[in-house]
C-alpha cells in the first residue's frame, strides 16, 4: 500500500508533532508499506494570510496514493480520495482559543468572516473523510463541540520506550521539550526561590533566538545560576532520555496542551512523576495530583512547593513514578496496533 502523510511545518521548528510524523512514516514502512510525508510550510500571521494558505492547499495535487493520513490544518484541506484523519491540530485560534481571547483573528465582522471560512472548509473536509482519529480526548471533544463531528481518540505511542529505563543517579527536576513562552519553562526558574536546595535542568530546542534569550534573562534576574542548567538545543534521543532517566521528576507546564504530550508519556515510561499545572489541558488526562505527580496552580510559589516535595521526599516520588508507569501501560499504546487501526 502507498500511504501519504500530509501535514504542515514551520521552517526550523521541530517538536512533538514533527516527531509523530517522522515515526508514523518510519513505522508504516516497517509494516511493509510505502510511506512518505508531505510537509507544507504554514504562515498564519496576519490572520488574513490564513485564507491564502487554505487556497494554496486546495491547489496542491497529490497524485495516486492508496491512503492519505492528514494531521494538521490547513494541509488536511489538500484534495484527495481515501483521506483519513489522525488529527493533531485544527486552527485553534478560530475555535477554543478564540473563545479564550487568545487569538490573532480580530474580534470584528472581518474576523467572523475569516473564522467562518475556516470552519466551513473544516466541516467539508471532515465530512469527506473516510475515518477520523485524533491524538487525544481533548481534541475529540473539541471537534464534537465546535464542528459536531464524531471521532476516535488514538494517542500516539512513545517512539523508543527502551531508552527510558529510569535508572536514577542524580537528584534534579527536568524540564524537556520545545522551549517557548507557551510551555512556560520560565515559571520553573521563578519557582526556584520557593524551592531551596532544588536543582533544575531545562533542555530542548528554543523556537527562536528571542525565546532562548528570555530564558537566560530570567535566570539572571532570579540569580539562580548555580541551581539551573540550561541546555538550549536540539538533543539527540539518547541525550534527552539520559536527562529524563537521571532526574527525580519531570516538570511540564504547557498552556492548555491538546494531548498528554510525549514529554509526559516518556517521563512515565521512565517511572518519573510529572509536575504540571491545572491549566495544562491534555496533560491532565494522565497526570493526577498525588497519584502520578503534582497538579498545582500555574504560579511560582505552588510550583516551588511541588518541586521541593519531589526532591525532599524521594520515597513518595518513586511511588508516584511507579504509578505513572502503570497508568501508561494500561493505555496499551504501541505502533503495531496504531498502524493497524489507521490503515484498516
Amino acid at each position: 500500500m502507498k500511504v501519504l502523510i500530509v501535514t504542515n511545518m514551520v521552517p526550523f521548528v521541530h517538536g512533538g508533532a514533527e516527531e509523530l510524523c517522522f515515526h508514523l512514516v518510519k513505522n508504516i514502512r516497517e509494516y511493509g508499506h510505502e510511506a512518505e510525508a508531505i510537509k507544507i510550510p504554514f504562515t498564519y500571521e496576519p490572520a488574513e494570510r490564513i485564507i491564502e494558505e487554505m487556497v494554496l492547499c486546495k491547489n496542491i495535487c497529490l497524485g495516486n496514493a492508496d491512503k492519505v493520513i492528514a494531521l494538521k490544518f490547513p494541509a488536511y484541506l489538500i484534495p484527495c480520495e481515501n483521506k483519513i484523519f489522525w488529527l493533531v491540530h485544527q486552527y485553534r485560534q478560530a475555535y477554543d482559543l478564540w473563545d479564550a481571547n487568545q487569538t490573532n483573528i480580530q474580534k470584528d465582522q472581518r474576523g467572523e468572516q475569516i473564522r467562518s471560512f475556516i470552519k466551513n472548509a473544516d466541516n467539508i473536509a471532515f465530512k469527506e473523510a473516510k475515518r477520523i482519529f485524533t491524538v487525544s480526548k481533548v481534541i475529540s471533544k473539541r471537534l464534537k463541540y465546535y464542528n459536531n463531528i464524531e471521532s476516535i481518540s488514538l494517542p500516539s505511542p512513545i517512539n523508543d520506550p527502551q531508552n527510558f529505563n529510569g535508572k536514577t543517579q542524580a537528584s534534579y527536576i527536568f524540564a524537556g521539550g520545545r522551549v517557548n513562552s507557551g510551555k512556560r519553562q520560565f515559571l520553573l526558574i521563578q519557582a526556584l526561590k520557593y524551592a531551596k536546595g532544588v536543582n533544575l535542568i531545562i533542555a530542548g530546542p528554543p523556537d527562536n533566538q528571542e525565546e532562548a534569550e528570555k530564558i537566560y534573562k530570567i535566570v539572571e534576574e532570579e540569580n539562580v545560576k548555580d541551581r539551573v542548567k540550561i541546555d538550549l538545543r536540539f538533543l539527540s534521543r539518547e541525550e534527552y532520555a539520559d536527562y529524563v532517566n537521571r532526574s527525580s521528576a519531570v516538570a511540564y507546564l504547557p498552556f492548555d496542551e491538546d494531548s498528554a504530550g510525549y514529554v509526559t508519556m516518556e517521563a512515565f515510561q521512565a517511572k518519573k512523576p510529572v509536575i504540571t499545572t491545572t491549566d495544562s489541558g491534555g496533560v491532565l488526562e494522565i497526570v493526577a495530583h498525588n497519584k502520578t505527580g503534582w497538579v498545582v496552580e500555574p504560579n511560582a510559589e505552588e510550583l516551588g512547593v511541588a518541586m521541593c516535595d519531589a526532591i525532599m521526599n524521594p520515597k513518595k516520588t518513586l511511588e508516584l513514578g511507579e504509578k505513572g508507569r502503570v497508568i501508561l501501560d494500561l493505555l496499551g499504546l504501541n505502533w503495531e496496533n496504531t498502524i493497524k487501526r489507521l490503515l484498516a
Partner: protein, 344 residues
C-alpha cells in the same frame, strides 16, 4: 543566513531531482549554514498545471528565509525577495517535446494557447530571480531558445567525492543507472556479443519489469552469462565505490539526456573514462572523444570496438581516466564552486 531549498517532488519516486537538493542541504549544513528543504508535490498532469503553479506562487517564505534556492519545476514560480533559481529542466512536454510523441496533448488551439501562457508564466517567474543557473548547457540553451533568458551553467557535483577511489584498471566496464529503454542497456549487452577481447560488463540498476526481462533474455540469447554481470537492484554506496575503483572504464549511453549523469562524475573521481554515444545529449558536455573517454555511434559493433580498445590498451584507459579526473576541476564541478556561486 537562513536558506530555503525549494523543490517539487513526485511522491514515491526517487531520482536525480532529489539528490541535487539533498546533497546541497548536507553540504550547507557541513559548512555551518542554516538550511531547510521544502518539497511540494507536483505532477506532470497538464490538466492541473496552473493549479499547481498557483500553490507554489502562494507559498510565503519571507518570514523564514533570507534567500531561497529553487530546483525542479514549478518551484521557480515561488515568490521571494531573494530568489536564486538552479533550473534543472523545463516542463518538457510543452517545450522541446511539444508536438512529438512524448507530448501527452495535441498541439491544437486550446493547448497551443495553454502552452503560450505557461511559457509566459515561467519566463516572468524566472525573470524575478536574482541569478539564474542551470545544471547543463542543454538546459541553458533551452532557456535561451524558449524563454529568451541568459543563464549560467552550474554543474552539480556528487556528495563527498573523496569517497571514490582508484585501485586498478581491471577487466570490467561498469554501467550504473536505471535500467530503462532510453538508457539503452540493450545496446551494451548486444555489444558484448561482438567483443573480441576478454572484457566483462557489469550492469547495475533497477527499472521497469519488461525492459529488465528483455535485458535478461538478451544475455541468455547470446549466451553471455560468463561475460555480463547483471546486478538488478539498488547497489549500496560501498559496492558502487568498489565496482568503480576496480573498473576498466564506465559506460553511459542514454538517449538524449539533459545532463552528464552522476555516475559519469563518480567514475571521473575514480579516475575512470566514460564511453558514450554521439546521441547521448549532456554526457558529451563532460566526455571529449579520445581525451577522457570514447564517443561512438549507437550501434553495438562500434560500442564493442570501444570496449576492446579499452581492454587491449589499458594505458589508454588510464590516461583517459586521469584526464576525466582533471576535467572535473576544468569544468568547476565542486561544492566549493557551487557554494561560492549560490551564496554570493
Amino acid at each position: 543566513m537562513k536558506i530555503g531549498l525549494i523543490s517539487s517532488c513526485a511522491p514515491f519516486v526517487d531520482g536525480g531531482g532529489r539528490f541535487i537538493v539533498e546533497w546541497l542541504h548536507q553540504v550547507l549544513q557541513e559548512n555551518g549554514y542554516n538550511s531547510e528543504i521544502i518539497y511540494i508535490p507536483s505532477f506532470d498532469d497538464p490538466n492541473c498545471m496552473f493549479e499547481q503553479m498557483t500553490a507554489f506562487r502562494l507559498l510565503s517564505f519571507d518570514n523564514y528565509f533570507d534567500r531561497v534556492i529553487t530546483f525542479r519545476p514549478p518551484a521557480h514560480i515561488v515568490k521571494h525577495r531573494h530568489k536564486i533559481v538552479w533550473f534543472i529542466h523545463h516542463a518538457r512536454s510543452f517545450y522541446d517535446l511539444w508536438g512529438t510523441m512524448y507530448c501527452p496533448v495535441q498541439p491544437d488551439k486550446y493547448w497551443s494557447s495553454f502552452r503560450a501562457n505557461l511559457i509566459a508564466a515561467d519566463t516572468n517567474a524566472l525573470k524575478e530571480a536574482r541569478r539564474l543557473y542551470t545544471n547543463s548547457r542543454v538546459v541553458s540553451e533551452r532557456l535561451k531558445k524558449y524563454n529568451r533568458l541568459d543563464s549560467k551553467v552550474l554543474y552539480p557535483p556528487v556528495l563527498h567525492p573523496e569517497r571514490f577511489l582508484n585501485k586498478c584498471y581491471g577487466d570490467e566496464i561498469v554501467s550504473i543507472c536505471r535500467v530503462e529503454h532510453h538508457k539503452r542497456q540493450h545496446i551494451l549487452v548486444e555489444a558484448m556479443a561482438h567483443v573480441k577481447s576478454n572484457v566483462k560488463l557489469r550492469i547495475c540498476g533497477v527499472g521497469s519489469k519488461s525492459y529488465v526481462q528483455d535485458i535478461k533474455n538478451t544475455i541468455i540469447k547470446y549466451n553471455l552469462g560468463n561475460k555480463v554481470y547483471f546486478e538488478n537492484r539498488w547497489i549500496s554506496e560501498n559496492e558502487k565505490i568498489d565496482f568503480l575503483s576496480n573498473a576498466l572504464a564506465h559506460v553511459y549511453l542514454p538517449f538524449y539526456e539533459d545532463s552528464y549523469g552522476y555516475p559519469t562524475i563518480e567514475a571521473a573521481w575514480s579516475r575512470k573514462a566514460t564511453i558514450t554515444t554521439d546521441d547521448s545529449g549532456g554526457v558529451s558536455e563532460f566526455v571529449i572523444n579520445k581525451i577522457n573517454g570514447l564517443v561512438v555511434s549507437n550501434n553495438p559493433r562500434d560500442v564493442a570496438e570501444a570496449f576492446d580498445v579499452m581492454y587491449f590498451n589499458k594505458n589508454l584507459a588510464m590516461e583517459f581516466g586521469n584526464n576525466s579526473y582533471e576535467r572535473l576541476s576544468d569544468m568547476g564541478i565542486s561544492w566549493k564552486n557551487v557554494l561560492s556561486e549560490l551564496l554570493q
